[in-house]
């Protein structure tokens, strides 16, 4: 989404920079869940970047500055904007990961009293 061209797959030897050698499977788990977890986290990262790019547009507009791919690429939020972005980012992570924590808390609770905490 950046105006800057992202590096794509290059030569075969450069592809090694995309591989995590020695990556173990998660014991006992369906490998597809691990794959999906990676995809959801990566997607969340992209949404977070997109959200901040929109924020840059809005702030440049509010200051009646030119909104171009280059001006957004170079935009550095001030302290107030940085704090506001952190709040938005945190909210998104909490929202996306909520099912993960909810399921975990229920499961961990079983070992305390033998019952779900719900």
């Amino acid at each position: 989404m950046s105006a800057t061209v992202r590096p794509g797959a290059g030569s075969a030897s450069q592809l090694r920079y995309k591989v995590h050698k020695g990556r173990r499977t998660v014991p006992g788990a369906d490998a597809r869940v691990d794959t999906l977890m990676g995809m959801v986290m990566a997607l969340m990262s992209e949404v977070s970047v997109l959200r901040e790019r929109v924020d840059a547009h809005e702030r440049l507009n509010a200051e009646q500055k030119p909104v171009t791919p280059a001006s957004v690429d170079d935009f550095v939020p001030d302290e107030l904007a940085t704090r506001a972005r952190a709040v938005v980012r945190q909210r998104m992570i909490e929202k996306v990961c909520r099912p993960l924590l909810a399921a975990g808390s229920t499961e961990a609770g079983k070992d305390d009293d033998g019952e779900d905490e719900e």
Binding site: M1, S2, T4, V5, R6, P7, S11, S13, Q14, R16, Y17, K18, V19, H20, K21, G22, R23, R24, V26, P27, G28, A29, V33, D34, M37, G38, M41, A42, M44, S45, S48, V49, E52, R53, A56, V72, D73, D74, F75, V76, R85, A86, R89, Q90, I93, E94, C97, L100, L101, A103, G104, S105, E107, A108, G109, K110, D111, D112
Partner: protein
């Protein structure tokens, strides 16, 4: 104006790259603060059950067997590792966008210190077998032609500043080096090292700090990757610090006997192996001059005092963050190993982390038996080569 660089060689960020990196930092923080406690609760519950049944402290193997079919444990591994992989991807993409510019910064850096790489260098098997910390290519892999570049060093420096969430001395990432200095000041106050060697120096962040602490000293760092060291050399030179970097294996360097006053490592030993560990100690002994001092800083954790969750967390680092010797390093009896290597004046314990350059008159009491936890303490094993 784009965001300023932290130091002259640090890869610069575009708007989106900063956003992507801040996301990784926030995600990691969230997992540490919100998900870890859930897994801790589960693990301690499982440990209680096992302990009640057997009357003994459960082993890691027993804990694993009970946890491995639990969805939360599986999800925790997946989520933590995904965040780590996203970190490397974010750092790698940022560096790859500006590789030409970084290579030019390296070529045009002031000619300070030296760099010696070995095209025939053989990476120790324990490092070649897996990508340490899940970093694609790890410390050592350079694609053909890239050994003349700085990619892996730049990626490591960028990611390391994110990995510790700024808790290892900000983006200069030099807290561990400062802590080594504090230890030398406190425990070996007579030592005035002229020649200093760091084993496993990566991008030289600790070595810059150590060099500043001992003005006039000649400092050398060794590591296993050519582009890693090329970046380290350019980084130090652009910071105005003349350092020497050599591609070498800490088990068998080519430095002459008795050539250093201080040899240290900073969180390197847990990247080695059970066989390598005594060899590295023997090599330290060989290259130190009589009366010289060796300091090894490690993660602030000891297996013998770990609770069940600490063990499971360490096991995550070992198996799912590709730190195969993590458990070995935190279980090793350094006192015995160091003594066997011939050293005297042996110290093993925890040092408070040094936040900034230590002052000689303010280091008393930093080293002792108290582990204050991650980024507040570091484990240290140190010793002196006998004077005669």
């Amino acid at each position: 104006m784009p965001a300023p660089r932290i130091h002259p060689m640090m890869p610069a960020n575009t708007h989106d790259e900063t956003a992507e990196q801040m996301f990784v930092v926030a995600l990691k923080s969230f997992l540490y603060t919100e998900m870890d406690p859930v897994v801790r609760k589960l693990t301690l519950g499982v440990a209680d059950e096992l302990g009640s049944a057997s009357g003994e402290r459960p082993s890691l193997q027993q804990l694993r067997r009970r946890l491995e079919d639990r969805p939360i444990y599986q999800n925790w591994i997946s989520a933590m590792r995904s965040a780590q992989e996203l970190m490397w991807q974010a750092a790698g993409d940022c560096v790859d966008r500006q590789r030409t510019e970084l290579e030019e910064l390296e070529r045009s850096a002031p000619k300070l210190g030296t760099l010696r790489v070995d095209p025939n260098f053989v990476v120790p098997r324990y490092l070649a077998a897996t990508d340490t910390h899940m970093m694609p290519g790890s410390y050592h892999f350079d694609a053909p032609g890239d050994e003349q570049g700085v990619r892996q060093g730049a990626v490591f420096d960028k990611a390391a500043s994110l990995y510790s969430l700024g808790r290892q001395g900000g983006q200069m990432n030099d807290m561990r080096g400062q802590t080594v200095v504090a230890h030398v000041f406190e425990i070996y106050p007579d030592l005035q090292p002229q020649k200093i060697l760091e084993m496993g120096c990566t991008v030289g962040n600790s070595l810059v700090a150590v060099s500043h602490a001992f003005p006039g000293s000649e400092c050398t760092g060794i590591d296993v990757g050519a582009s890693l060291l090329r970046y380290a050399h350019a980084r130090a030179s652009r910071l105005g610090v003349p350092l020497h970097f050599v591609q070498a294996n800490a088990e068998c360097t080519d430095f002459p006997d008795n050539s250093f006053d201080l040899v240290y490592s900073s969180a390197m030993l847990h990247e080695t192996s059970a066989k390598a560990l005594p060899r590295i100690m023997a090599e330290c002994y060989r290259v130190l001059r009589p009366g010289g001092v060796m300091v090894h800083l490690e993660v602030p954790f000891r297996a013998e005092t770990a609770d069940a969750y600490d063990l499971v967390r360490a096991d995550f680092e070992t198996r799912f963050n590709n730190e195969p010797f993590w458990m070995g390093a935190v279980s090793a009896d350094y006192g015995a190993i160091v003594k066997k290597a011939g050293f005297t004046d042996i110290h093993a314990g925890f040092s408070d982390a040094a936040f900034g350059p230590p002052q000689r008159d303010k280091v008393k009491g930093m080293f002792g038996n108290e582990n204050k936890g991650g980024y507040k303490s570091w484990y240290i094993a140190s010793a002196r080569k006998p004077r005669s």
